[in-house]
């Protein structure tokens, strides 16, 4: 199928928007169900899916709101079809209850959030990174999602494929955090060679329907992820958002069942941190100052770090690609020789919190916030570096 898509998309070098790249990534990852609701600046994702899904035997449906969109996505995913929705701040807020459901019932799905200025309706056409904490903690209760933040249009395509892979591998919602800047930015994109595309599938049930227990674990490559039997396969699975036992049946007052389940939902992801956690670093060897950024902000950050290096400042850069879960151990290791950390973000300070938690009081951590829509200029970040 991937082959067909790459052929259908035609020329290999494209000049497309981030929103379009999310569409192409999804098509290549074999996403065949999209339900959404128009919202600036994510509407182009829906438009792209409306164009492509019918051509590929997939389904596009515009639902009545964002709650219905993610609900339909979860329903579709229960039948074994890779499914996605796309939205922005206000719609992302509406989706939170269903995201929790997908965590609890372990239904793979990908949510593209093209972030815009909030709170509330805020700045519909302007970029922001204000949903970082919400991506992790927007739904109630203890849980673990995965969130990825691309810095370019090319990476949006690549990470959309990866988002599907992680979602299928760990049976967890994966949130792709774009922003209005990348969503509407056009850039050169090279479609991957078919042989280089890795597309993962959910691990199917390895036991007959008579002995099948939907939430038993220990039989997939990641041992805490249950195997999956789609609706209609004769396995007769019961899926619920209530606390459930290995049979999938509600058991709502047992502390043991609840704790075992919720801990597993978190551990199945966190135990594999070294596989899930992607980052990039630059000039860390002798760096005394380290700039940490993610998404669009990484671009002026890298420019600033390169400029500062030219004037002899020992500064390095870490770019978080997987922003949730946060790899405390690895970050502690990477940051151990720094005396100052600068965290530019297009919000008033969100990712700076787990970073502060990582280094404690040993290292100075400076938040370099910017809101209003414009991305940081390299000079703004350079000024922060020079002041240290």
């Amino acid at each position: 199928m991937t082959n067909d898509v790459i052929r259908l998309l035609g020329r290999k070098d494209l000049f497309i928007q981030g929103d379009d790249a999310a569409v192409y990534g999804a098509l290549i990852a074999d996403c065949r169900f999209f339900a959404g609701y128009p919202i600036t600046p994510a509407t182009e994702v829906a438009e792209g899916m409306a164009l492509w899904m019918p051509k590929l035997g997939g389904v596009y449906v515009q639902m009545e709101d964002e709650i219905a969109s993610i609900a339909a996505v979860i329903g579709a995913s229960c039948t074994g079809v890779k499914s996605m929705t796309a939205t922005s701040g206000p719609g992302f807020s509406l989706m939170q209850e269903c995201i929790g459901y997908a965590c609890m019932a372990e239904i793979p799905c990908v949510i593209v959030n093209v972030q815009r200025g909030g709170p509330s309706t805020g700045q519909p056409t302007e970029a922001a990174q204000g949903d970082v904490m919400q991506a992790m903690w927007g739904t109630h209760g203890d849980h673990q999602i995965i969130a990825l933040a691309p810095k370019s249009v090319q990476e949006t395509l690549d990470l959309t494929i990866e988002a599907f892979n992680l979602s299928e591998d760990y049976r967890v919602p994966v949130i792709l955090l774009l922003d209005a800047e990348i969503g509407h930015m056009r850039e050169k994109v090279v479609l991957p060679e078919v042989v280089n595309v890795k597309v993962d599938e959910r691990v199917p049930a390895t036991i007959g329907p008579d002995k099948y227990r939907p939430y038993r674990t220990g039989f997939t490559r990641t041992s805490k992820v249950p195997e999956f039997a789609p609706f209609g396969s004769g396995y007769r699975t019961y899926v619920t958002g209530l606390t459930h036992d290995k049979r999938g049946f509600p058991v709502t007052t047992s502390a043991d069942v609840h704790e075992e389940l919720v801990r597993r939902l978190i551990e199945k992801v966190q135990d594999d941190m070294d596989v899930i956690w992607y980052h990039e670093d630059l000039f860390l060897d002798d760096a005394e100052i380290i700039v940490i950024s993610y998404g669009t902000t990484s671009r002026p950050a890298v420019s600033a770090v390169k400029m500062a290096r030219k004037s002899g400042i020992k500064v390095g850069h870490i770019r978080l690609i997987t922003i949730w879960p946060f790899h405390y151990e690895k970050m502690k290791e990477l940051l151990k020789n720094a005396h100052t950390i600068i965290v530019p973000e297009m919000n008033l300070g969100q990712m700076v919190h787990p970073i502060r938690e990582t280094v404690g009081k040993d290292i100075k951590v400076i938040s370099a916030p910017k809101i209003g829509g414009a991305i940081h200029t390299p000079y703004e970040i350079l000024k922060c570096i020079e002041e240290e």
């Binding site: 000049f15 002026p300 420019s303 991305i375």
Partner: protein, 178 residues
């Protein structure tokens, strides 16, 4: 090589499309390119800006601060962006849309009566393509082949009209030194 191009005007002039055509043409020529935009919520009439960064290296910061080339299609945009052009940079503008075009500074100025030429070709909608012809003629940045290929790819309808507009822009642009 690294160049920042800022195209500005008002909504409905095809400002963003012009940026897309330039960026795509740069990609066809083998460069890296990033195109970004800013516009008001209204589809027509608000002020619009499109920026393209072209480089033979990876592009970190995607925005244009001081433009190497400014292509300007409204008086308001001229007041706002003409001076945000680099020293020795090029400013290409439509003097009939921008009667007040006095500017101090070390710039190379190029005039093209894009809107009139477009009207003479049949529709002023293609004024932006006339501007791109002028841009291609004045700035030795992107090949003509890549530009026409990009126009074909971006506007499959009314191809002849657009290619004529492009040629007319190339032919009629005037470098002026004030």
């Amino acid at each position: 090589m690294k160049a920042g191009i800022r195209i500005s005007g008002f909504g409905g002039q095809g400002i963003i499309l012009s940026g897309v055509i330039v960026g795509k043409a740069a990609v066809f020529d083998g460069f890296n390119a990033v195109q970004t935009q800013s516009y008001g919520p209204e589809a027509r009439g608000g002020s619009t800006r499109s920026e393209v960064v072209i480089s033979d290296e990876e592009i970190d910061y995607p925005k244009v601060e001081s433009a190497s080339i400014s292509i300007i299609m409204s008086q308001e945009a001229f007041f706002k962006y003409a001076s945000r052009t680099k020293r020795e940079g090029i400013i290409i503008y439509d003097p009939e849309l921008i009667p007040d075009n006095k500017i101090e500074g070390d710039f190379k100025l190029a005039e093209i009566n894009a809107t009139r030429i477009a009207s003479e070709l049949g529709t002023k909608i293609v004024a932006n393509i006339v501007m791109l012809g002028a841009f291609n003629e004045i700035c030795n940045l992107i090949s003509k082949d890549a530009m026409t290929e990009s126009i074909k790819d971006s506007i499959p309808k009314m191809l002849d009209l657009n290619l004529n507009a492009f040629e007319a822009g190339k032919k009629n642009v005037k470098i002026i030194n004030k």
